[in-house]
């Protein structure tokens, strides 16, 4: 591809789109970390499961892909509840490393179940807007990518309202500050944990559906996005939503620009190099605060 002004602009847009998907994943990871102080390395596998569910729903039931994302979001949120109840709850409060080990176990379980059910071949969700794109002078952007950005903004807005305006959101914020005090205030912390995990899983599910529409995916697709989402959170500062949004856009744009200027294989390498540089200069992330 020739590097011209329109291509650079287009790459910028692509960076914003993929950045938005990462932001959604990162926000889910971030809220789980903020409230439960838990790092779920299997978060990207929820994205993968959701992409497959969206695919199955839209292919075998003939659902509209965007409706399928909604259904898959509910299913994955329930899956999140089950995962929280039977694995993470058992190790919460023990050694921090145990959480990483449990999530690695979950990665193996999710990936191989997905492989058993859907096989190893790569798939892509067919959206009703397939092949249609908005034309601007010198470039065209597919509708799906534009919709993805709006879906992400909408999901984040709903999430923000939930956190700020509802009772459960208040309970989540209280628990994230100090769970023991929250307990004394009559908050059922266990219930809050379960709800938080479900919300995080639902956000990952939306990200998964959008990912499945924009990119082809297979059962191994989850590993890299988890790490990227995690890198974004760290880059922005753990627990900071604003940091996650800026980190996500920065990462997405860097990745796409590196792909444009240096070639496909460099995308994630350059983006990770950026992460490493940020952390070496500022080990707590751009918006991180001292302490946690």
């Amino acid at each position: 591809m020739d590097i011209t002004a329109p291509t650079i602009f287009l790459t910028l847009v692509w960076g914003v789109v993929i950045g938005c998907v990462y932001i959604l994943l990162a926000t889910g990871l971030n809220i789980i970390f903020g409230v439960m102080k838990l790092v779920n390395f299997a978060h990207g596998q929820l994205l993968m499961i959701s992409a497959f569910l969206t695919w199955t729903l839209s292919v075998s039931l003939g659902l509209n892909a965007y409706v399928a994302i909604f259904v898959s979001m509910i299913v994955v949120a329930l899956l999140g509840v089950v995962v929280e109840r039977f694995t993470f709850r058992k190790v919460l409060g023990t050694d921090k490393l145990n959480e990483i080990f449990v999530s690695l176990g979950l990665i193996y379980i999710f990936e191989n179940i997905a492989m058993l059910i859907w096989g190893a071949s790569s798939k892509q969700v067919l959206s009703p807007f397939y092949g249609m794109s908005a034309s601007l002078p010198g470039l065209s952007i597919t509708y799906d990518r534009i919709i993805a950005v709006f879906v992400v903004v909408g999901a984040l807005a709903i999430f923000g309202l939930l956190l700020r305006k509802t009772k459960i959101g208040l309970a989540m914020r209280a628990t994230s500050q100090r769970n023991t005090t929250a307990m004394l205030m009559g908050i059922n912390v266990q219930k809050v944990y379960m709800f938080t995990f479900a919300i995080g899983a639902a956000l990952a599910a939306v990200a998964g559906g959008l990912y499945g529409i924009i990119y082809p995916f297979d059962y191994q697709v989850g590993a890299l996005p988890t790490i990227i989402a995690f890198a974004i959170i760290i880059m922005g500062g753990l627990g900071s939503i604003k940091g996650a949004i800026i980190g996500g856009l920065l990462y997405g744009i860097t990745e796409q620009m590196a792909t444009l200027f240096l070639g496909g294989t460099w995308g994630s390498a350059v983006a990770f190099a950026l992460l490493i540089v940020v952390l070496i200069i500022r080990p707590i992330g751009i918006f991180g605060e001292k302490g946690e």
């Binding site: 176990g105 179940i113 790490i227 890198a231 294989t265 994630s268 390498a269 490493i276």
Partner: protein, 364 residues
């Protein structure tokens, strides 16, 4: 003086004798069981025991790496390339058409493996320097980031590494039992050295850092220096394991840098028992056995016969099923026996011993 004394205490320690005895048995078992598949499994177990032990060694100093595959890969590529170029030079010097397998070729292989380990440790030094200020998640992310970068670089410099199609190694030691014996010797040496360091004053410093870095610093331990030393030693042995792995499968490609390979030593150490000497070995036995048994033709046939109808999208249900089982076992172990399989063995041992005690009282 100090070194000599700690060597003496080491030679007298029960654990060390256990390691020696274990590897002695390991070396002779394949003679009794003359079976190619068994030999393959044993070789893989021994190679990955070194790899898992090197990760465990690093974890012992409080640094959990999620990118150890970098060093498995660097060790593998470096020793494969160096071994090939030295043997090419030797072939032109000897005037033969092919490298004769013998004393010289074994020496070349050992040299290539050591250089591979050193190169891996050199890269480990650089990465370690970047990581000394980082902790827990941050460290995990940065090490993982390096594994992504390593995969990109090796495909970028494909003319040297041939990482896309795979770099075929030169045969320097007869495959089968002779190669296995060499792997066992390397494992014995590597694990003994790591054990020795863990028991020395330096190991004490590592454990102090693992326990509480701020406190370790306060009592005068140069934490940055010791963390770096741990990184270099660990990556050296991971590189050795990588070299052995490359020469065993006789081909090394970019897939060596995969996240799965980075998670492998962690899972093995946790299943076996984190922070112990025997843990990574037990974990390796467990993991490799399950994985390899699931590829046996008879097992594959019976699994496909029983379950194939339920999973029409998969041609072979064995490998995903075995990994699924490993995932479940990992979670069960973390929840119910967080100190790994070795703690279960201890419990069983204690239980058996405690039953005998009342009997002794009766006799009295």
């Amino acid at each position: 003086m100090h070194l000599k004394q700690s060597l003496i205490t080491l030679l007298h320690s029960k654990d060390f004798l256990f390691i020696i005895a274990f590897f002695a048995i390991l070396a002779f078992v394949p003679i009794l069981v003359q079976d190619n598949f068994f030999l393959t499994v044993m070789t893989l177990i021994t190679i990955f025991a070194i790899y898992a032990a090197s990760w465990n060694f690093l974890a012992n100093s409080g640094q959990g790496s999620l990118g150890h595959a970098v060093f498995l890969g660097i060790g593998g590529f470096a020793s494969a390339i160096i071994g090939s170029s030295i043997s090419k030079a030797a072939v032109s010097f000897l005037g033969t058409t092919q490298m004769p397998v013998g004393g010289l070729s074994v020496a070349i292989l050992i040299l290539a493996l050591l250089i591979g380990g050193l190169l891996s440790a050199g890269v480990g030094l650089l990465i370690g320097l970047a990581c000394t200020r980082l902790k827990t998640w941050y460290l995990a992310m940065v090490t993982f980031g390096f594994s992504v970068i390593a995969a990109t670089l090796s495909s970028q410099f494909n003319s040297i590494t041939q990482g896309i199609d795979g770099y075929a190694t030169t045969t320097l030691v007869t495959k089968g039992y002779p190669f296995y014996l060499m792997v066992v010797l390397f494992a014995l040496t590597s694990i003994s050295i790591m054990f020795f360091i863990m028991k020395s004053r330096m190991g004490l410093a590592f454990r102090a850092i693992h326990g509480n870095e701020a406190e370790a610093k306060m009592i005068g331990i140069n934490t940055a220096k010791y963390k770096l030393i741990a990184f270099v030693i660990s990556t050296f042995f991971a590189g050795i394991a990588g070299g052995l792995n490359a020469y065993f499968i006789r081909l090394i490609d970019n897939s060596v840098f995969s996240p799965a390979n980075s998670f492998l030593p962690l899972i093995m150490s946790v299943i076996g028992g984190l922070g112990t000497v025997a843990g990574p070995i037990i974990g390796s036995i467990f993991f490799v056995s399950i994985q390899q048994i699931s590829t046996l033709p008879s097992v594959v046939d019976s699994l496909n016969g029983a379950l194939g109808a339920y999973f029409p999208n998969v041609s072979n249900v064995g490998p995903p099923l075995s990994l699924l089982v490993i995932g479940v076992i990992l979670i069960v172990i973390v929840i119910f026996a967080p100190k790994g399989l070795i703690s279960l063995f201890h419990k069983i041992y204690k239980y058996l011993m405690s039953e005998e005690k009342p009997k002794k009282v009766k006799i009295k």
